[in-house]
Amino acid sequence: MRLKRAKTKRLLLSSDLDVGFSLVALAPFFAAALAPLLFRFTQGYTGWLLAIIPASIFIYLLSFVEAMADKQLISAGFDWIPAYGLRFSFFIDGLSLTFALLISGIGTFIILYSGAYLKGHPHQGRFLAFMMMFMGSMLGLVLADGLITLFVFWELTAITSFLLIGFDHVRQASRRAAIQALVITGGGGLFLLAGLLLLHQMTDLWELSSIFEYGPAIREQAIYPVLLGLILIGAFTKSAQFPFHFWLPNAMEAPTPVSAYLHSATMVKAGVYLLARFSPILGGTVEWSVVLTVVGSVTLLWGATTALRQSDLKQMLAQTTVASLGLLVVLIGIGTEKAILAAVLYLVGHAFYKGAFFMIAGGIDHATGTRDITALGGLWRTMPVTFVAAVVAAAGMAGLPLTVAFFAKEEMYAILTFKGTWGGLFLANLSLVIVMVLGNAMMMAVGLAILFKAFFGEIKPTPLKPHEGSFSLWAGALVLGVFSVWAGTQLGYFSQNILEPAASSIYNFEVESKLYYAFKMLTTTPFIISALTWVLGVFIYLNIDAIRTWLREFARDLGWSFDAGFDWLMFGLIGFSDRITRLWHHGRLELYLVVVFVAFAAALLIPMWGTFALPAMSDVKTMTFYEWAVFVIAMIGLVAVVVAKTRLMAIVSLGIQGFAVAMFFILFGAPDLGFTQFMVETLTVVILALVMTRLHLDQRDSRMPLDLLRDGGLALVSGVGVTLLMITILQTPLDLRLSELFAQTSVPLAHGSNIVNVILVDYRGLDTLGEIAVVMTTGVAILALIRIRGGGPQTGVGAKKPQRGKSRAKKKTAASRQAKTSRRASAAKASA
């Protein structure tokens, strides 16, 4: 279908860029391929060397800041599958740039940090390779223009995340967390793929930058809710939204650099990025707002309360990350100018303080050997630099002035004044603000707890003697803190170059931010609510021990968690597949065969149901007495085989029916067939007699009467089916064209008078060659079967059985050789 293009909707100007731009996403992959080798030669300095890549990407991306400030959209790419119009394409706008700068900027310090954190680890090269791969995937994701390009990078982030979480794969908890993350985010990715393909179906376009213009038309489609649902599930699983939130805290099994990078600053934001990216296409509807704000709010409160329950540094941070992601989803869901501004501010602010906090947590772990908040204290004396970084990070988490997160709070609380009427919208906004205040206060309390419990108070004994880490360990946290304050003070530059371009990309209209510091702010509603948040946060912090105990008891009384639910689901799946496998692969051959023959009978009889007709009696000609005789002999043979009481009887009876068939061939003008059949039947009988008399095989029918009835019935029905099929086909005219052709050309073209043999050795000569190959292969296989014994090839002199086998093997191959010769002999008649 062709959708209507919106008029003058997208304000961003579009221009093209050199394909070399793709290197931004691809260079980290090249670096990843070299990382293990590099590690072999440079050991401890690998981190420093590899950090050059993200650093140069960061600097290169800075050159786009000016263009983005003019609200441009620049695209680049190359043909991928031209037949489908598919391109491997990238584009960059304000939103992409903001994300890409965060990814490459934070990435630089994370790579440095990894080098120090995993100092002396034998697999550091592998770890750094995974990290670089992830960085490339993430950059590719935020810069992707093509829908399929986007999806490929989306899944790559899931895969690299799996590799990184499971890095310490000898621990089961680590493996479990990795699988959990992959199942949830990868499963969500499939929904996203369906959504993207649906989007392509609707617009017939592959490029996001061109789909933007069809936003209003897409939202009018009846199928829009389906599209929305698919894309939202993709985003929610990635960004750990309720009820898919539980994989993120478990992902803390990964080494701390991974937690700091993937699970706070970048990968989990991919879902938020997706929502922001699709906001101009899907956003602005009631469904969008309701689903996003409700899911986001639940996630925010859930994450924040769960964070209060934890005492492990990384767990506390992980849960607050869940909460922060919820908050971002709420803000995108609200979708007003202020809310979008708040979202971008919060996104940046959160990346700064949470990334820093994780690096600090890792540093503490590294220095003291523990991450339990109740076991730490007084670290400001021994770790002064880390302490400074922690103060800045906690200020960001609390949203204090001078940090960029302060403005995020101001802007998000401003939605309350968006519409001053006491309508339903106001009530909805009011409840959202209450949710945000609660969430922010709880997160602030967690931040304060980390700062005060770990760095102040008495010095507690820890497994390691606390000491300040190396430069690489604290540099990242400190620099992020500096950036946090820089962005919170250099308001003009930050607003114009980062904030407004990014917000405009999401909002799809020019967004103007008015951030400032002034005394008159102190009386505005947002500031009052901010102050309220701080008071509440301090209050919660002061009572954090009591709250933690209470929440833990509550969780224990509840006795169920989403995490346990995941186990139940996974083991249920394994058990289910086990049961299905056992149901169909029960190991009883006769039942497999029953299935086969029931299908056979059904395939014969069902199509003939109602259409079968007996031929007119005038068409039926009776057989001559000798023809009857042949069939009667065959029937006697068949019955005798079935009812035979002894082996010899069965074998002889088998010979009888075989010879009857041979006689039938001779009677009806097929002497070659007859002779071959005679030969083969004779051999069969001889060989069977030789083998059967040597083995003490049980010839009796061991079936139960009920089984006999079932098998007999099935056999009868199948026999009737074959009969009816033959009668039906015999009533249709026979197509003799091929037979005629062979008959007419046998002498003139192939110079052979025995038409059957001419067909075999000339017209279908290659088939015959194949057939001979089959016979030969069988001979080889038989030889192998007899030679190979349980314990490998046997010398075979001592044992009785092998000898028997060998003598039989000779007969067998001799027999097949004879069979071949007989065919060749009959074929030779052709030339006569």
Binding site: I574, G587, F597, A650, L673, Q699, L730, I755, T778
Partner: protein, 126 residues
């Protein structure tokens, strides 16, 4: 056409073969497969019509066979089938023989090497 009367006999071949194949004794199954091969060959032969009884051979000096010559095409197919069927028979015979030696069983119910009755359950862990 006499073929109509022959059809039930072919059906009887199939019925006997299937009845034998469904038994759990390896040797009876082998007999069944041999009979099934014969049944299929007969089916192909009869479907090519059997009325003319002269072998499809061009008389010396002539360019084409007599009007009464049998249909050569099914014969060519069956000739191949007989040989392949025999190869299959010998292979299955040796297979059954070796299975009897290794597993000490000629009843398929007792041949549970590949799919044992108490196969271990998949591990319920990560």
């Amino acid at each position: 056409m006499t073929e109509f009367l022959m059809a039930p006999f072919v059906g009887a071949f199939f019925a006997a073969a299937i009845y034998l194949i469904l038994s759990r004794s390896v040797i009876r199954m082998l007999l069944g497969i041999t009979i099934l091969g014969n049944g299929v060959n007969l089916l192909i032969f009869i479907m090519g019509r059997v009325s003319p009884e002269v072998p499809p051979i061009v008389p010396a000096g002539a360019l084409r066979p007599s009007e009464l010559a049998a249909n050569p095409l099914p014969q060519a197919l069956i000739l191949t089938a007989i040989v392949i069927g025999f190869a299959l028979f010998t292979f299955l015979l040796v297979l059954g023989y070796r299975a009897y030696q290794e597993l000490d069983a000629d009843n398929t119910d007792n041949m549970r090497l590949a799919e044992p009755k108490n196969a271990p359950r998949p591990p319920m862990s990560y």
